[in-house]
Symmetry: C2
Amino acid sequence: MHLKESIYRDQTIRLAHGNGGRLMRELIEQVFAKHLKNELLDINTDAAYLPFDVALGDIMMTTDGFTVEPLEFPGGNIGSLAVHGTVNDLAVSGAKPLYLTLNAFIEEGFEISVLDRIVASLARACVECGVKVVAGDTKILRRGQGGGVYLATTGMGQRLTKQIIGLHRIQVGDMLLLSGTAGDHGTAVLLAREQFGLMGSLKSDAASVLPITEALMEIDGLRFMRDPTRGGVATIAHEISQAVRQSVRLYEARIPYNQQTKVVCDLLGYDPLYMACEGRVLAVVAPECAEIAVLKLHALGYVDARVVGQIELGRAHAFIETELGGERILQELEDDPLPRIC
Amino acid sequence: MHLKESIYRDQTIRLAHGNGGRLMRELIEQVFAKHLKNELLDINTDAAYLPFDVALGDIMMTTDGFTVEPLEFPGGNIGSLAVHGTVNDLAVSGAKPLYLTLNAFIEEGFEISVLDRIVASLARACVECGVKVVAGDTKILRRGQGGGVYLATTGMGQRLTKQIIGLHRIQVGDMLLLSGTAGDHGTAVLLAREQFGLMGSLKSDAASVLPITEALMEIDGLRFMRDPTRGGVATIAHEISQAVRQSVRLYEARIPYNQQTKVVCDLLGYDPLYMACEGRVLAVVAPECAEIAVLKLHALGYVDARVVGQIELGRAHAFIETELGGERILQELEDDPLPRIC
C-alpha cells in the first residue's frame, strides 16, 4: 500500500475522516475492518445478515455506551471494555453472546495509533468471547466536543430456554453469591487518573463473565444474575431489595476485597461496595445450591467466589452487617463521585 | 409524583444522572421509559427478549451514530433522525425493521426539556415506522466533552427471502432511480446553523423510506437500493461504479432538486449532489422495469421520483452529463465541508 493511500500518513483524526468519502473509507478499512474482519462483516452493505439456529433458544439483545477515562487503564482499555460490558449483560441474562454492532464517536485530533490499539484490543476481546462484530458506524466529533473516543456496542445472543432466571424467581432465604473481589474496576480507573497522584499495581477486573454464568446456569436453583457495574455491589443489592420487596442482608466480613482496592478507597473516602466491577457476577441461588455453586466457581479458578448475603423477610431495603455486628443501610446512590468510570 | 421525586426539579442534566443510582433511575423512567414504553422494554433487565417468526425471513442488523448540529432543525431533530436513519438502512436492505436499541451520550448541563422533546420525537418516529425500542443505555459526558446529545441506534429487522438484492446483482444497462429531490437534509441543517445568517423555509427530507422500499421490493427487476446519506447521491454513484467496475452516468437535467436547495448550495459553494439526504432512495432497476417503478412511486405520492442515470460499459467511475452536454467526473469526497450533518 502506498503511503498516500494509508490512513497512517496522518497521525491524528481529521473531520474529513467522517465525511462518507475516501478518508472515511480508509479509516474503516485500515483500522476497523483490518482488526474486526469476519465472514459476516461487509463494509459495503447497509445491514448484516445474522444466522441463528432458532431451535437453540430465544434471541436476546442489549446495548451499552462506554466513556471510560482514561481510555487505557491497567487491565484493559475502552475497546476491550466495550466488548466485555455488552457480552456480560447477555451472559447474566443466561444468553450466549453471538453478534455485536459497534459505534465509535471519535474526536478530531485523536491519535490514530491509539485508536488502532483500542480497536485491536476490542478485536481480541471478541475472539476470546466468541462474538463477531457484524456492523459498525463511525462519527467524527469536532475538537472540544468529545472525550477522545466514546463507544457503544449492541449485542445479540441466544438464551437456552430450559432455565428461566429473573428477579421474579427470587425467594426469601435465597443466598447471594459474589464471583470475585468487589470494586476493582472503578478503583483501578481512578488510580489511573493522574489527578490523584497515586501509583499502584491494581488492575481492573474487566473480563468476560461467560465462564461464570455458563457454570451457574447448570445449577437448578439459580434464580438471578447481574454484573455489578455502575454503582457496584451495593446498588445491585438495593435493586434486588426493591424488586423483591424484601430485605437484602450482606455480611461485611464475607465480601471479598483486593487489599489495594480497600486501601485506595479508604484513602480517597469511597466505599468500595459502590465501586464498579466489570468482570464479576452477583448471583442469587436457592440456599441448598449455594455451596455447590461456590465450589463450581472455585474449580474454575474463581477462588474469591463466596456467599456474601441472603434475602430475608422484612421491609424492602438492603443493608450490610458490619464486622462489629452493627447494621448499615445501603442507600441508593445520590451524587456521582465518579463520572466516566465505564 | 412529588417534585422532589421528579427529574424536572432540575432543569439541566447533572453528572449524577449517569451514576447508576436514584437520579439515573429518574432520568430513565421519567424521560426515556415514559415516551418509549412498550411490552418488550423492561428497564430492570440486562437484555431484552426479541420475538421473531423465523419463517418470515432472514434476521438483519444495522447500526448508526447521530451527531447532527443543530440538534433540532426544520423537518426533524436528532431523535427522529436516529430512528429514520437506522430504519432506512434496514429498509434499503429489503428488510422490515422491527426492533431498535438506543444509546444516548448526554452532556452535563443539557436542558432536560429539550431532551424530553428529542425523546418524544424519537418515540413518535418509532410508532410511524412500526419499530419498538427494546433496550437502551445513557451516559453523561462532562461539560465541554460533548455536543449536547449524541445518539446511536441499532436496528433489527427481517428480510423477505424471495427477492435477493445487492451490488452483485447490478448489470450494464440497468437504470438508476432517485425517489425524490437531492440534498435537502444537508442543506436544511446548514441553513439552521446561525453562523450562515441565512433564513429559509427549506425542510429536511428526513423520513422513513419504508413505503418506497416496500413498493420497489415488489418489482422483480430491482437490483439494489441505498439511501444517499453522508456524501449524497454523488458518493453512492461513485460507490456503485467501484463495486460494479463499470461506469455510472447521471443526467444533470434529470436530477430532481428543491429550488431552495439549489439556491443555497450555489450561494455557499456546495454541490447539492454531495449533500446528504435522509429520506430518499437511490435504486438500481433492470431497464424494462424502470418506468413501472417510477409510476409506482408517483402513485404513492413521491411525485419527484424519476430515472436519473444508467450503468454503462466503461471504466469504473461515476460522471454526470451536464445540461450543456459536457461530462464531469464525480470524485470521491476528500475534505469534509460539513461535519455533524447527520
